[in-house]
Symmetry: C2
Subunit: 351 residues, 2 copies
């Protein structure tokens, strides 16, 4: 078996008894039962995912996968394609949004070149896992071969295993790739069954003309490539991207290793959805950081049965929403670990 | 003039030029314009509130005001009244939800006895500012005299001034007081004009019978006391509480000193609303941490023109939601301070 099929086979359903034992502890802490709402949900899920009834404050890493997109030549983004490598270098210098927010959250940022159309040489700090120098223009044919897409997924799995081995206990996903809301919207349309217009947004902030053109590009790409919705790898290779595939692999690998993953916004969610279509149990290991401004985001979250944590009108990507949500998930873990019980604190319980 | 009227007179409108200069900086940072959504809003507001065009990461304090309520004898809460002082002692030992979340946020917790029906002696760590030993039962007459309510507001103002003088730059509000969703719902009804049933929730989690009884108690309290909606101090004294008054004072004092305040849930918002009715400009200095499970919360936020930051199904109070929201407001400040500009990072701008 390939590393992908091995990984999928290793993903197990969560044990409901772990949810129950976690709630039993939450219910003896000095607060009305259930009064910490979703913080309690996060604590229960962390216990069930990790199998640890007293989970540690986790070591955290945000994986920011970078890739380019041939479809950028169709004018679907406000920014030129050279911004992808420029932003990768900005990540490595610590000056981007994800660096700022990950520092606050106490998370490492792992910057991964999985498909950038640029030669970084041996630049320090970058994970050199380039599979392709950008996808091909999906309006003219498949973005990737199936083999290329599989290699990108395998790279994500390898990172998940590496960081699980290092003792990291909470992963976040992120990405950088000029034009990558375009393949993400295409994936959303094909896998949720919604119309392209229902799941396509303005990305970096394009005007009306470019927006209408973007919808046309996505419609064309789906018509020309005929991705098979029952075969997620077919969808990923024909209308996806390298960074989306890396995220899919990270989610699969993390689920197999029982490491929870906080998925960021629209593009990250497209990657997570690919993973969930390959292995539906993956969704049990995912947290949806936020609800993006991109209109197709909610449809993908619904398809996976995930409820977003934050709604901050974000549309930057990189993993920025994931970094913030990590802090809130950690709030749930801290509540679970650190609060006094009614008995210890000498507080009377409900009558 | 009293300290209250002096404080109100010192509250000035924000300067729109500060919002604009903050946005101008945000727009040269390496991200699509506006793509960090509400984080950008938080940064702009912090600049405008503080008047500092490069605001520091603020020292933070959550003020948890504790008070008892005579109306508890009407059976409106799931918990007995002695839980108020028991929880105060839990706060002082660091075992409550607010302690856990404030530690994570890097905020101090200032526990204030403003109206608990218990003699704490000289216990260390507690701010001894007791004005009353609990309110009187508002179903039988005014909860407080006007003078008592004013003293509680003045205590909040004094704390705001003290902590502004000490260099704290971000306040959070919190409270503890068995039965205090009852006066808060009464305030919500009177000041928003909604029906009692529209703004009354289940507090700590009471059943149907107690819930219906709670609505009746609030209806009675309003009918018997006839609070004047155009006179917030009248409303506060007749159907409010000491901790609610302290929060109102803290908001007024903070606004006068240009310190932003993160208001927590339903009870804190009742206090903030009292402040805004006394001095409408106060709202410009407030952040609404979250949308509580309590159904009357949204109506009060709407009345103040505030949009909540988080929606985590919280209903604990103490300042717990405020502590979490402080982290996210700080995210906005960090973005503003720490991100690289397009020029510094050598990243191409939008075409």
């Amino acid at each position: 078996m390939s590393s992908i099929s091995n990984t999928i086979a290793a993903i197990k359903p969560l044990d409901p008894a772990l949810h129950e034992s976690a709630q039993a502890r939450l219910d003896i802490l000095t607060k009305p039962q259930g009064s910490l709402g979703r913080l309690e949900e996060f604590a229960r899920r962390i216990v069930a995912i990790t199998g640890n009834t007293m989970p540690e404050i986790p070591r955290k890493a945000v994986f920011t996968f970078a890739g380019d997109h041939g479809v950028a030549e169709e004018g679907v983004s406000l920014f030129p394609k050279e911004v992808t490598p420029q932003m990768v270098l900005n990540f490595l210098r610590g000056g981007a949004g994800i660096n700022v927010l990950a520092r606050q959250a106490g998370a490492d940022v792992v910057v991964v070149d999985i498909g950038v159309d640029y030669d970084f040489g041996g630049v320090d700090g970058l994970r050199h896992m380039k599979v392709i120098r950008g996808t091909r223009n999906m309006r003219k044919g498949p973005a990737m071969t199936r083999e290329e897409a599989e290699k990108c997924v395998e790279a994500g799995i390898a990172l998940a295993n590496e960081y699980a081995d290092k003792g990291y206990g909470l992963f976040g996903t992120g990405e950088m790739g000029i034009a990558n809301t375009t393949p993400s919207a295409a994936i959303a349309a094909v896998l949720t069954g919604r119309s392209v217009a229902d799941v396509t947004g303005r990305g970096t902030g394009i005007g009306d003309e470019a927006f209408n053109s973007k919808i046309g590009v996505i419609v064309d790409a789906i018509r020309i490539n005929q991705p098979d919705p029952s075969d997620a790898m077919d969808v990923l290779s024909k209308i996806g991207g390298a960074e989306i595939a890396g995220i899919a692999g990270l989610c699969l690998g993390a689920a197999a290793r029982r490491v929870p993953v906080v998925i960021d916004g629209f593009i990250s969610t497209a990657g997570a959805l690919i993973a969930c279509e390959m292995a539906p149990l993956t969704a049990e290991y995912l947290f949806a950081a936020h609800r993006s401004v991109e209109i197709g985001h909610g449809a993908m979250l619904d398809r996976m049965g995930l409820r977003h944590i934050l709604n901050l009108d974000l549309r930057l990507g990189e993993g920025t929403g994931a970094a913030i949500a990590m802090m809130i998930i950690e709030s749930g873990i801290r509540i679970y670990r650190e609060m006094a019980t009614f008995a210890d604190a000498g507080v009377s319980t409900a009558e």
